[in-house]
Subunit: 82 residues, 2 copies
Amino acid sequence: MTFNVVVDVAWKEEILDPAGQSTAKVLQQMGYAADNLRIGKQIRFQLQAPDVAQAETAAREMAQRLLANPVMETYAVRVVAE
Amino acid sequence: MTFNVVVDVAWKEEILDPAGQSTAKVLQQMGYAADNLRIGKQIRFQLQAPDVAQAETAAREMAQRLLANPVMETYAVRVVAE
């Protein structure tokens, strides 16, 4: 079966995000009341697996081993059957 | 009121994503059956607005004007009351 996987990767709270800070500053200069802006990644892919449980296990492994840096980043994994 | 805003930014389908292709290749070499991998951004921030409708309007404007490049990227905006 083919599954659609979405992995959201975000900086941990204690990690500075200078690009996010700059973006917030520009939004404020444009007149928007935005603050605490953080820029993360959203990785989408298709995954072949026998069932949703095995797809979720594999997707979590992929996030932990390659897609995120667990020292500095947190991640959330969603798996949806195609 | 303070709202939490999440903006997902993804490359349009017709735009190549070499970083995504490289990542898929590495995952395949690691033994995972992943394909069609695309790396987008997920931008999170807090926004002051009188109500959720005005927060959504402002967030969409921000995505269109600064957070995404509408020529090459699509975006999805979610607003949640804090």
